[in-house]
C-alpha cells in the first residue's frame, strides 16, 4: 500500500512536471520575460536584409542578467538566429583556447581586458574593420584592432555613509595603508577587476611600488571577499567601512534595498592607476562561420540604442559619443583617469602571482 503510494506520487510528480512543461514558452521567451520593458525596441539599421539572415553564436563572459535583454533586441531587430553561451569571462576564455579553430563561437564578449586579451594573444581573433574600431576612442580598443571596448566601468571606493562622509576619504589608495584604516577596508583580491587594476598599477608605478602598496594594504588587516558583490554587501552592513570595487554594483543594491542603503561611491579621480577605467570588450573569432553577422552584432552593440541600454540599465559608461551617461554617474569626460591603453592590461597571471605572494589569498 505505502509503496504504491510512493510510486504513485512519483508518477504524479513526473506527470506534473511534464504537464507544466507542455505549455511552457520557448527558452528565448523566458529570456524576453526576464527583461523589464526598457527603451522602445528601436529600429536598427533597416538595411535590405537577405531572405535568410542566418545565425550568430556568442560566447558571453558577461552575465545573462546584464546582457540578455540587449542581445534579444538585436535578434528581434535583425531576424538573425542568435545563440548565446553564458559563463564567467575566464571560463569562456579557457574554453575558447581549448576549442581552438573548432570553436562554434563567432563572437566573444568579455567582462574585462584580461579575458579578451588572452584570446587575442592566442591569435584566435580577426582584425576588426575600421568602421567598428573608429566608434570608440583609441585607448578603448585593442592596439592591434583585434577587439573593441563596448562599455566602461570605473574603479572607485564605496563607503558606508553612516560611518564616513566623502571628505573623510584619502586622495588615493595609498592613503588606506595608513594605520587609521586598520581593519576597515574590504576588497576582492581574486576578482578580475581588482587584478586588472593591479596590472595598471604595475604599468604606471612599476613592480616594486605596486608590491609595496599591496603589502601596505595587506598589513592593515583588510577583510577579503570573493567578489565585488560581497564587498558592497559588507560595506552596507558596516562589516567594513570602505571597499575597492567597480562603480556600477551600487546601483543594483539601491534597486534591491531602496535609497536608504547606506553606501555611496567615491571617485578618487586622481589620474593614477587607482582611478582606472576598464572596458568590457568584444572580438570576432577568426574561425567563426558567420563573420558578417558578427560584424553586424558589434555595430549594434556600439549603436545609440545598445549604448543607451547599458547607460540606463546597467549603469555602465557608454563608449560612443552622443550617448548620455546616467545622471547618477560622474561623466566619463570629467574623470581623471591614467593614460593606460586597454591592450596593455592583459597580463593577469603576473598580477595574480603578486597578489598571492603578498598573502592576500588566504
Amino acid at each position: 500500500m505505502s509503496r504504491k503510494f510512493a510510486v504513485l506520487s512519483f508518477i504524479l510528480m513526473v506527470g506534473l512536471l511534464l504537464g507544466a512543461c507542455a505549455p511552457a514558452p520557448q527558452p528565448t521567451a523566458v529570456v524576453a520575460a526576464t527583461a523589464e520593458p526598457t527603451e522602445p525596441a528601436a529600429p536598427v539599421e533597416q538595411e535590405a536584409a537577405p531572405a535568410d539572415p542566418g545565425k550568430l553564436v556568442i560566447y558571453s563572459g558577461r552575465s545573462e542578467s546584464l546582457v540578455a535583454p540587449i542581445i534579444q533586441q538585436f535578434a528581434d531587430a535583425t531576424g538573425i538566429e542568435v545563440e548565446v553561451r553564458y559563463g564567467s569571462t575566464a571560463e569562456m576564455a579557457a574554453a575558447l583556447l581549448e576549442e581552438g579553430a573548432n570553436s562554434p563561437a563567432d563572437v566573444y564578449y568579455a567582462q574585462d581586458p584580461g579575458g579578451i586579451g588572452a584570446i587575442e594573444d592566442a591569435g584566435l581573433l580577426t582584425t576588426l574593420p575600421s568602421s567598428i574600431l573608429e566608434r570608440v576612442a583609441p585607448g578603448y580598443a585593442s592596439p592591434n584592432g583585434a577587439w573593441v571596448g563596448i562599455t566602461a566601468r570605473a574603479r572607485i571606493v564605496v563607503y558606508n555613509t553612516d560611518a564616513l562622509s566623502a571628505a573623510d576619504l584619502p586622495a588615493d589608495l595609498w592613503g588606506f595603508t595608513e594605520p587609521e584604516w586598520n581593519g576597515r577596508v574590504g576588497l576582492a583580491p581574486t576578482n578580475a577587476s581588482f587584478v586588472t587594476m593591479v596590472t595598471g598599477m604595475r604599468q604606471v608605478w612599476g613592480e616594486d611600488e605596486t608590491r609595496a602598496w599591496l603589502e601596505g594594504i595587506a598589513a592593515n588587516n583588510p577583510v577579503y571577499y570573493s567578489g565585488n558583490g560581497g564587498v558592497v554587501t559588507a560595506v552596507g552592513a558596516r562589516e567594513v567601512e570602505v571597499g575597492f570595487v567597480n562603480h556600477y554594483y551600487l546601483y543594483q543594491f539601491l534597486a534591491e534595498h531602496g535609497e536608504g542603503f547606506p553606501v555611496r561611491n567615491h571617485y578618487l579621480n586622481n589620474g593614477g592607476p587607482d582611478s582606472l577605467v576598464m572596458v568590457s570588450g568584444a572580438g570576432i573569432l577568426a574561425s567563426g562561420q558567420n563573420q558578417e553577422n558578427a560584424e553586424r552584432f558589434l555595430q549594434f552593440m556600439l549603436s545609440q540604442v545598445a549604448q543607451q541600454y547599458f547607460a540606463s540599465r546597467t549603469y555602465e559608461y557608454p563608449l560612443v559619443e552622443g550617448v548620455a551617461t546616467s545622471s547618477l554617474l560622474v561623466p566619463l569626460t570629467d574623470l581623471n583617469t591614467p593614460e593606460i591603453s586597454m591592450g596593455g592590461l592583459s597580463d593577469m597571471s603576473g598580477s595574480a602571482a603578486l597578489i598571492e605572494d603578498v598573502g592576500m589569498v588566504p
Partner: protein, 523 residues
C-alpha cells in the same frame, strides 16, 4: 577468459566507463606538460604545501563534524521512539539539496559579523559585532551542515539492515544496552560510516562555492584561482594532478577504515529490532534534531525567503521558471539513469569478480572522484571540440560529463548492495531452473533496488546543483535552475537569485523525501 556474453554485458561497458574517466587525466597530463617549467614552478611554491595541509585539515574536520551530527540522528530516527520520528527522518537529509555556492552566501549573510543574527541581537543585547566566520570556521560550518546527510543516508540504510539477533545475543551474554551497541551495532556500522565519510571528503575536495565565499584556500580554490584570476591552465593542471594523488590517498584510507566488510551478517535480516525507549532523553534528543534542522535547512531557506520578499516588495517580478525546472529535471534525470546503468557492470565486477583486471577498472573509475567540475568540463571541451565535433555541446555530451563526475559515487552505492546479495541465493535460483536473465530479474535486481535507487537519487541531486560542466557543455542556450541562480548571484542580484534557488531546493527535495519515506515504509 570471460564468455563472449559476459564480455559484452560486463567487461566492455566497464572498460568503456574506465576509459571515459581517463580522458580528464590524459588532458591534465597534456596541459601540465604543455606548460613546461612555468607549471612546475607552481609546485615548488611554499603555498602549494600550505594548500595541501589546509585541504587535509578541512576534510578531516568536516568529516568529524558530519559523523558527530549524522550518526546520532541516524540512530535516533531508526532505532528509538524519538518524538516526531518520521518528520525528522524526512527533514534531516534535505540540506543535501542546497548548493554550496548559494548556502555559503546565505550563512555569510545570516551569521556574518554584521549579518541578520547580529541585527536581531543589537537591540536587546547591544551586540554590535559577531566573531568573524570567514576562513576555516565558515568553511567548516557550511560544508558540515550541507554534507552531513551523505553520512546520514548511508548509516541510516545500514542501521535498517543490521541484524538485531547479534545485538540480542550480546545482551543475553550480559552486555548492557550501551555496551552491546558499541560492541556490535557500532562495529557493524563502520563500513557505512567509512563510505559516508568518503562521500563527504570527496565533496569537500571538489567544492568551490563554500571555500570561495568563506575564503579558505583548498586545492579546488587554488585551481579555480589559476583559471579565473591568472588565466593559467597549465598551473591549474599541475594542481589538479596533485589533487588526484591526494584523493587516491583518501581512497586508500577509506578502504582501511572500512575494515573487512562483513558480507553475510548483513544478508537478509528482515526482522525489525525493538525500538529503544529514550525515556527522559526523548526531549533533549528531539531538541537536537530540531536544532540541526533549523541550522541546516530552515535558516538558509528562511534567508532565501527573506531575500525573495525584500526584492518582491521592491518591485521585482518572479520569472516564469517552468522551462528551467524541466531542463534541470530532464538533464539530471537522464544523467542519473545513465550513471547508474554504467555503474552496474563496474560494481558487479568489483563485488563478484575480484581480480587484477576488475581492481584496475575500479581504481581507474576513482581517479576523477575529487576533480572539480571545471577541470572535467575543460577536458571534455578539449576532446569534444577537437575529436568529437558532432557530439560537442549536445545533451549526450553533457550526460557523458555527468557520468565522469558522478560514476564513483554510484559505483560505491551499488557495490555495497551487491555485497548484500549472497551469490548462493542466485545459485539456488539457477539450480531451480531459472535462466541467467531470469535470475537477474527475479532475484538480483529486486535485492539491489534500494542501492540502485539511493545511487540514482544521489546522482540526481548532485546533478541538479552542478554548475561548471552544465555551463560549458550543455547545448547552447540550455539553461537550468542552477545556471540561472549562478547568473544572478554572480552579479549580486540576490533577490532575483532567491526565486530559482528556492525552486531548485523544492524540486530536489521531492525525490529525496520520497526516497526516505519509501525506506521508512519498507521497514
Amino acid at each position: 577468459m570471460p564468455s563472449p556474453r559476459a564480455f559484452l554485458l560486463l567487461w566492455l561497458p566497464a572498460i568503456l566507463a574506465a576509459a571515459a574517466v581517463l580522458l580528464p587525466v590524459a588532458y591534465l597530463l597534456f596541459r601540465a606538460a604543455d606548460g613546461g617549467d612555468a607549471a612546475w614552478v607552481t609546485l615548488q611554491r611554499p603555498h602549494t604545501l600550505d594548500t595541501l595541509l589546509r585541504t587535509a585539515w578541512l576534510c578531516l574536520a568536516v568529516t568529524l563534524v558530519c559523523l558527530l551530527l549524522a550518526v546520532p540522528i541516524a540512530w535516533l530516527t531508526v532505532r528509538t521512539d524519538l518524538p516526531l520520528r518520521r518528520l525528522w527522518a524526512v527533514l534531516t537529509p534535505l540540506p543535501l539539496v542546497i548548493p554550496s555556492y548559494v548556502g555559503a552566501f546565505l550563512y555569510a549573510s545570516a551569521l556574518g559579523p554584521r549579518g541578520l543574527l547580529q541585527g536581531w541581537l543589537e537591540e536587546p543585547f547591544g551586540i554590535t559585532r559577531l566573531p568573524d566566520i570567514y576562513g576555516f570556521p565558515g568553511a567548516l560550518l557550511v560544508l558540515s551542515l550541507l554534507n552531513y546527510p551523505y553520512v546520514l543516508l548511508v548509516v541510516r540504510a545500514a542501521l535498517q539492515r543490521v541484524d538485531p539477533a547479534q545485538e540480542e545475543a550480546a545482551r543475553s551474554l550480559g552486555h548492557g544496552a550501551w555496551s552491546s551497541f558499541w560492541r556490535v551495532t557500532f562495529a557493524q556500522l563502520r563500513p557505512a560510516m567509512a563510505s559516508g565519510s568518503l562521500l563527504v571528503v570527496l565533496y569537500v575536495l571538489r567544492d568551490f562555492g563554500a571555500v570561495a565565499v568563506m575564503r579558505y584556500t583548498t586545492f579546488t580554490r587554488a585551481i579555480y584561482i589559476q583559471y579565473q584570476t591568472a588565466l593559467d591552465r597549465s598551473a591549474a593542471a599541475v594542481l589538479a594532478l596533485i589533487l588526484i594523488l591526494f584523493s587516491l590517498v583518501v581512497l586508500f584510507l577509506e578502504s582501511k577504515a572500512r575494515g573487512r566488510a562483513n558480507q553475510l551478517s548483513n544478508a537478509a535480516s528482515n526482522r525489525t529490532p525493538q525500538r529503544v525507549q529514550l525515556g527522559a532523553w526523548r526531549w533533549p534528543a528531539a531538541v537536537f534534531c530540531a536544532a540541526v534542522v533549523f541550522m541546516a535547512l530552515l535558516l538558509p531557506a528562511g534567508v532565501l525567503l527573506y531575500w525573495l520578499v525584500r526584492g518582491w516588495l521592491a518591485g521585482q517580478v518572479l520569472d516564469n521558471a517552468t522551462q528551467l525546472i524541466w531542463n534541470s529535471v530532464s538533464a539530471s534525470g537522464l544523467g542519473a539513469l545513465t550513471v547508474v546503468v554504467m555503474a552496474l557492470p563496474v560494481a558487479y565486477l568489483l563485488a563478484r569478480r575480484p581480480g587484477r583486471a576488475s581492481n584496475l577498472i575500479g581504481s581507474i573509475t576513482n581517479l576523477a572522484f575529487a576533480l572539480p567540475g571545471i577541470v572535467i568540463a575543460l577536458a571534455l571541451v578539449f576532446f569534444g571540440a577537437n575529436y568529437a565535433l558532432p557530439l560537442y555541446q549536445t545533451m549526450p555530451m553533457l550526460v557523458f560529463a555527468y557520468m565522469i563526475l558522478f560514476l564513483p559515487q554510484a559505483v560505491a552505492a551499488v557495490r555495497t548492495s551487491f555485497q548484500r546479495v549472497p551469490p548462493q541465493l542466485e545459485e539456488a535460483a539457477r539450480s531451480l531452473g531459472r535462466g541467467p536473465l531470469g535470475v537477474l530479474r527475479r532475484v538480483t535486481l529486486p535485492l539491489l533496488r534500494p542501492g540502485i535507487s539511493a545511487a540514482a537519487a544521489l546522482v540526481f541531486l548532485t546533478a541538479m546543483k552542478e554548475l561548471p560542466t552544465t555551463l560549458l557543455l550543455a547545448p547552447i542556450g540550455f539553461k537550468t535552475l542552477a545556471t540561472s541562480v549562478w547568473s544572478f548571484v554572480s552579479e549580486a542580484f540576490f533577490a532575483r537569485a532567491a526565486w530559482p534557488a528556492l525552486l531548485l531546493i523544492l524540486t530536489s527535495s521531492l525525490p529525496m523525501a520520497l526516497l526516505v519515506l519509501r525506506e521508512e515504509n519498507d521497514n
